[in-house]
Symmetry: D2
Subunit: 310 residues, 4 copies
Amino acid sequence: MATFDGRIGGVYAISPTPFHADGALDWDSLDRLTDFYFETGCDGMTVLGVLGEGVKLDADEAVDVAARVIARAAGRPIIVGASAPGFAAMRALTHAVMDRGAAGVMIAPAAGLRTEDQIAGWFGGAIEAIGPDVPWVLQDFPQTTGVVMSPATIARIANAHPSLKLLKHEDWPGLEKISTLRRMEAEGAMRPLSILVGNSGLFLDFELDRGVDGANTGYAYPEMLVQAVRLARAGERDAMHDLFDAHLPLLRYEQQLGAGLAVRKYVLKQRGIIASDAMRRPCTPLSDTARAEIDYLMARLTRRLEALPA
Amino acid sequence: MATFDGRIGGVYAISPTPFHADGALDWDSLDRLTDFYFETGCDGMTVLGVLGEGVKLDADEAVDVAARVIARAAGRPIIVGASAPGFAAMRALTHAVMDRGAAGVMIAPAAGLRTEDQIAGWFGGAIEAIGPDVPWVLQDFPQTTGVVMSPATIARIANAHPSLKLLKHEDWPGLEKISTLRRMEAEGAMRPLSILVGNSGLFLDFELDRGVDGANTGYAYPEMLVQAVRLARAGERDAMHDLFDAHLPLLRYEQQLGAGLAVRKYVLKQRGIIASDAMRRPCTPLSDTARAEIDYLMARLTRRLEALPA
Amino acid sequence: MATFDGRIGGVYAISPTPFHADGALDWDSLDRLTDFYFETGCDGMTVLGVLGEGVKLDADEAVDVAARVIARAAGRPIIVGASAPGFAAMRALTHAVMDRGAAGVMIAPAAGLRTEDQIAGWFGGAIEAIGPDVPWVLQDFPQTTGVVMSPATIARIANAHPSLKLLKHEDWPGLEKISTLRRMEAEGAMRPLSILVGNSGLFLDFELDRGVDGANTGYAYPEMLVQAVRLARAGERDAMHDLFDAHLPLLRYEQQLGAGLAVRKYVLKQRGIIASDAMRRPCTPLSDTARAEIDYLMARLTRRLEALPA
Amino acid sequence: MATFDGRIGGVYAISPTPFHADGALDWDSLDRLTDFYFETGCDGMTVLGVLGEGVKLDADEAVDVAARVIARAAGRPIIVGASAPGFAAMRALTHAVMDRGAAGVMIAPAAGLRTEDQIAGWFGGAIEAIGPDVPWVLQDFPQTTGVVMSPATIARIANAHPSLKLLKHEDWPGLEKISTLRRMEAEGAMRPLSILVGNSGLFLDFELDRGVDGANTGYAYPEMLVQAVRLARAGERDAMHDLFDAHLPLLRYEQQLGAGLAVRKYVLKQRGIIASDAMRRPCTPLSDTARAEIDYLMARLTRRLEALPA
């Protein structure tokens, strides 16, 4: 199993799951995609998240996809999305992928949780179900789950569960939340907690300014995420923003909730990484107009990157 | 496979799934429960719905529960809850239980669907996934799914899918919806469609008055549901309401969203049908006060039934 | 101004606002309605709540309605619903009705509040806006507001604001919440707080068993609410439940969210209290079938009350 | 009254309401703001929307703000946000501002509407209440209202109400919706309907490509919106995207739901248009970090605009 502990930083790519046009899993593309993420400098990968169409796989397929990526990653950490409405399915998938070498699992709170006690209680049950020794990532994504977790609630969960290794922050607006969490950490109200940001990276530039450890998102040019984190670490603030701004028009286009998956698969296909941008149903395919818009954005990005100082 | 076609009426019990105190499946109790429903006069059963803690079973357990009940039912129709966020899991479970003799599956729309086109399109995909020959039940339960289907949307789905055999109506307030659907049916705007009511039967009395075909709910005294349908069919309106009103205090107590499952399991245990009222996590167990309240309601019900004319 | 302090108990009727068929305010009916509530033994009234179609009145009408009822009540306490999305309108209405002798105002949290800090902060702003000397009622009605307040959040608000005089509890399921609040009060975690229950009184029987101080709801037979509270105080538990159960079929019919207002106005009209059951738009009028159902329930109620011991 | 009919295009600025630090209305800043929008080339203004803190004004203040802007605009069209939960308040405000010379009102559907019939019925009631001769703008903003309107629903409303003059489109993702509406218009399924886009303009670039008539949003550099519309009309696609992309980092920062108002007021203050960035409560003020981030974005924008070809 890959190490996944201590201060976790850099870029963990959120990976889509490639399919053939008929909906069958495309194993060759999955291998190429795995290689691509690590060749571009990513530190790890997350599979079977929302972007990974995890809910569209049956139980056996899910384990197979995770196992394939884990094997291909050759020791680098792979996180597996294990969110499920019930703890039995969550435990079953968790144990299956941990047995196959996953670094940990990612868990988002179940829809419908509202009060701090409900949320903390639910995570207590989830961690009891998967076992307190399994490293896990807390996904904080209210736009999708409908569950709003205050900094105090996150701190309570972090303090209660040493097996929580990482916060995937994708609340929006979320900049002040990051600052509050970092302050609570500094004041001892929350134990040290690694934070990687999601929400497609729409605020990655200022999130890095505010002290997050990196990104855990699926933007189809992961090399930008990797480079932005490096520039931020090097104190090259302006250069980081210049790079980020060059990508922002396309990144914003990818960030469309629900539609973003189709955009990303199309970009990855145009870049030659995956063979098809097919999605499993239910899905909303891209229109021809949208494809043309993405081509236009990619061409503009290329030109703009050429104009940046090397 | 059991017949499940034409005008479907009477009572289809929504069945909980019995567990031992340690969370293991309690097969003996499941057999007793199956026998109980048919001995009390039910026409069929629905397993693995919300009440059946379907989401808390892993994939193999779900198939095993369905298969056990189907075998025990000896030819009477068993419906299996197959709602899932993705079509792959829905198809896998559907095929597994149809192979084992299920009469059909029950499908609720995925959370987040809003417009008529979204809803109709989603069901189009679902039926394509499970196959157009599998009989199915449309569950209309906005309080749980968040999806509101107008009568026009239901008619559109019914007219598009001959394999839709039954509407499980549990919208609330829902009386006018029933009258509208029956009027659309009479006017030819919707093909004939069987309607059984859920929402714990809180309005069963007037729903029968308004022409539904029966009940598809989990009230722990199914003999009342059976008798109420018979009285309604016989035109004994006052007697039907007298019987219903006698049960209403307890029925209302069972109807509490989220808490109702615990109440039902406790009543079934007190009645000697299942051995334990254990639920799998996440769940909210009954307090001692609540148990005492239920005992009180059961005692009051017994006295009140004795006072009714035979 | 009427006294509205200390342990507040008994029945505060939630009053509808009577209109003529053309939508104009019906002042005579409003006077009769006010007299009716106090003649049946109510201790106070709440006007301009959801049931009172408060949002359908313009600013001047709202003040006029409150002033009319306050004058007619001749010193008995009148609460005025003052919930509003902004604090300016809330303050304007509050000051206008307090100047005219209201006992206090009722405030529900604004839609969209989620975390404990958000909720507590919002109430801090609201109380600052209306002034810390104005007595107020906290309305806890998640089914309508979408805001879920845990017992801890309620205690925090109660402890922070001495001007909070009453909790209108209408969470559902809500029995355990009452027990928890009473336990927190006994343990000193929350200062003593009067609790009256709403949600149409659907669980009034057991809520009284669990120690609430009375009812603050709009059931169109307020004499039942008054008598139930008296029986509970006298320790006549069985008699209280007998009375409640006799009313439950109609009470449940009135409790339909959104549709209940029309039912209540119709019952009050049939009882001769208000001249018309007209509502202002947007509204959903009763169908002829629904009116007949209500007539049937009222006739059954009369017979059943006759059969109860005097 | 200003003309507001036929094909409406260009830029209608969504205006904030300036306050002094103590919360009092700042009339001088409101005048400067009105002048600013028209000097930068805007064609009209919308006041008292969400951005305008309309719900935080009491009834008299709302009319005064609208009247002040209308007078200052000297005949150019001013739209007034009139959304309200009840039709009485909507009518009262509408008549008051139309009497004072408003060009029309903007109405968003009430929260809680779900089916097409509910939505269309609600607008029928609203238009009956304000009168069928009052020009109005339909605001389609599901992220805030929770009401999702399909293209078919919008067409139904447009066809039923000739007084609907404009669609403020801010659904997200929303590009395909625009294309669908334009296709329905071309095919005669919807009468010609002007469309201006909101959602802070986050997709203005491609929305212009897809044929909208302009923008109706509150970005604090309205001169960009004006110029982008002109470039689009002139067929200068690349130049339009170049300009838009230069603004995107700040525009995206302003687009944060809930937090955006504070950002805009701060930018307008830094630009010397309004005297204070004070908001009325409930509100979330900017942190010092956020102010510094905005300053940084404004400085970067200035440099980047200098680098664009004139």
